[in-house]
Point group: C2
Chain length 285, copies 2
Amino acid sequence: MKTYLDCIPCFLQQTLSAAKMVSDDPIIHEKVMREVLQEVSTMNFDRSPVEMAIKIHRTLRELSGNPDPYREIKQHSNQRMLSLYPQLLERIKSAEDSLEMAIRLAIAANIIDFGAKHNLDDETIDRVMAESIAIPLDREMVAKLRQEIQQANTILYLGDNAGEIVCDRLLIEQLPQEKITYVVRGNPIINDVTIADAETVGITKLVPVINNGSDAPGTVLSECSPEFRDRFQAADLIIAKGQGNYESLSNTNKNIFFLLKAKCPVIARDLNCAVGATILQQSRR
Amino acid sequence: MKTYLDCIPCFLQQTLSAAKMVSDDPIIHEKVMREVLQEVSTMNFDRSPVEMAIKIHRTLRELSGNPDPYREIKQHSNQRMLSLYPQLLERIKSAEDSLEMAIRLAIAANIIDFGAKHNLDDETIDRVMAESIAIPLDREMVAKLRQEIQQANTILYLGDNAGEIVCDRLLIEQLPQEKITYVVRGNPIINDVTIADAETVGITKLVPVINNGSDAPGTVLSECSPEFRDRFQAADLIIAKGQGNYESLSNTNKNIFFLLKAKCPVIARDLNCAVGATILQQSRR
């Protein structure tokens, strides 16, 4: 997905919110804002918004000297979602179609995104998740994904955010695990998952976990390691979680299923859906 | 009022909304956005947000070739508010305290501000005005203003927006007109009043009307004509309508009563009030 002009005010809002979270120093806030304004003023808008997010968060980390500002938020999200694990598992087990319910949960938990939303409390997460879980998915699309999973020999599952990763585990438990490799970011970026999160929620005990070698809050292939790119090209099927992975891979010629909550008006327009919609969509190859 | 970092995303949002209104050409939208990003990146944040609004709208006028993009909106607002004039006048006449009701109306109508709000339909204006009119003003502050008006020999009434100007007329009708000069902007800027609006709604028949010689959506004295600055310094009392006049004059050492709706979180914080609050406040001299 390209960058729309409507993304620009949001870049600045994200920068300011993140700057205030990372540092209490107004001088740092101002420096970060001025630097990002400069960056955006010369940005190539044919590139995806994720590429600007990379620059914004690199600037924040450099100027604040904090390599992982969202560490505590990630830990909190993981612990909170782990505490819900038993009841979510029960929900999947008791559902008429367990795989479909696990997919619903995995998409619903994509609300836990501190890139798209700046103020996100536990109550909001609970409410949005409950609303999303209540809506059945498109049957045809679920059937398609089920078939693709059966036919594939190798599946890459691209994770997105901490907390949400607990629902990734629940979904992976419903899938043929011998086919699956779970992918995390190469370095901390916003509240996106790294290897530490996969360990915390127990995914490393279920399936191989690799990192993509990049600090993008998405999957910008040109920023990923050659090893990851080879794995990506070789995979029969990609399951891509979240807005960042959609933004960065929506124009990639590959068999991808996108599972996400459409959290902003720009992505909703790109997907031709309402803001807040629950999206299960196959890539247009 | 200085520019807060929170104003920055809003500058870009305002720029984009205005650019889309001014032109259908995405190339112009992009050009304007890149130019404003550059401007803001080096802006002196000790200056008021109004000074950035000047640059944004100058850029828009230059790149679009349209010297008065809000012309139709202004005409519509004036005609619509003029059609309500008889019933608003009735409301003032039948009020226990006619001056207080006229002040309420003049503040309520400040919602008609296409700088602060990008999508503003007649229904929203009606609803917000009805809500604002229903709330009595601070009695002490009204008494103070009444006293200042009595004591003053010369009063400058700084107008703000088209449409709203009909309620300025209603208020001026309740004031000693021989003391009053009404001030409009020197050039078209957003939906702010110029001499044409004062003529349309009949203020020119009531009191002398002058322009401030500037195209700021506020009163940036350094941008105003020397003639206006002399009048400003000589006046005993200034009645300043709206957010732009507050932003640009809140730190000026002069006897000013600000009448406005606080339409954004930044100005609400500066005024220590809720967003949407009805403000009648004397300057801190």
